[in-house]
Amino acid sequence: MFNDLDPILHSQLRLAIMSLLIGVKEADFTFIKEKTNATAGNLSVQVNKLKDAGYIDVQKKFKDNYPLTTCKITKQGIDAFELYVKNLQVYLQAKQ
């Protein structure tokens, strides 16, 4: 049914992360956690999967002695996201 869809993106939380990051320059881990209502542990795992796929760039810094993780979508991530949306549209058109 969804054979053409990218398995990295075809997961609720990972798709949510990518959808948030597609419209912004960069976002903090706390922002993504707030918007997705995910747990820190689960989010961390999914962020790492996206990072390993080369879809997002993760930077770890310190701000006022607290760790700060910033995520940014990569060119490869944008291309993959656009292809995913395109495939969805094709599927929906075919269904109609």
Binding site: F2, H10, Q12, L15, L20, V24, N37, L88, K95
Partner: protein
Amino acid sequence: MFNFTQIIMEKLKPMTEQESLQLISSMIQKAKASYHDKGISTLLWGTVVTIASVTSFLERQYNFDIGFDIWLLVLFAIVPQIIISIKEKKSTKVKKFEDEVIDIVWMVYGISIFCLVFYQNVIPQATQNLLKQDGWELSKHFINNTQPNQVIKPFIPSVFSLFLVLYALPTLVTGIVKKFKPMIIGAIICYLAFIVSCFTASKYDMICGAIAAISCWLIPGIILRKRYLKSKLLNV
């Protein structure tokens, strides 16, 4: 309405194409709605420019001097602005593409305002010197010859009108990019104030300036502040 929490709970269940699309649009909307300008900078500049303009008008209208140039307030307001900008940058959880562009537009606006102030202060003397080099000087001739001609120092007619054009520019850009109507309306009022100022005596240009500052920054600043405080209350 798409319930993301529910979907996360049911993450073992495969997503349908409809759910995928709903999730994408819901997250894009969430990212869009995440911006909340605290309105402090807008309020600061709206207040400072309004006070300076009204004071300038009152000084000219009632022939008194407060003892210092009120426009120095604008210069001093840069210090709290820098502190506000640093604090806001530190507390921002998300950076949007348009924020960077808008910040650049306001920075260029600041530089342009100082260039205009420089122009306003330098041009009269520079013009006088250039005229002198050619053996000229400007004089005032009375049409009915009731008084002898008087030498005058060159001046820039209605220079404050040019400030009004500059006030409107970053305000309109921000209003359009952020889809924030109060700033768009403010910028339109500012352009109208510019047209009016072209036909009024320079002391009344100050009133036009005050109207511009109130409509461009003070009122939008109050609206932004209210929105921010409301959103903060909802998130607590």
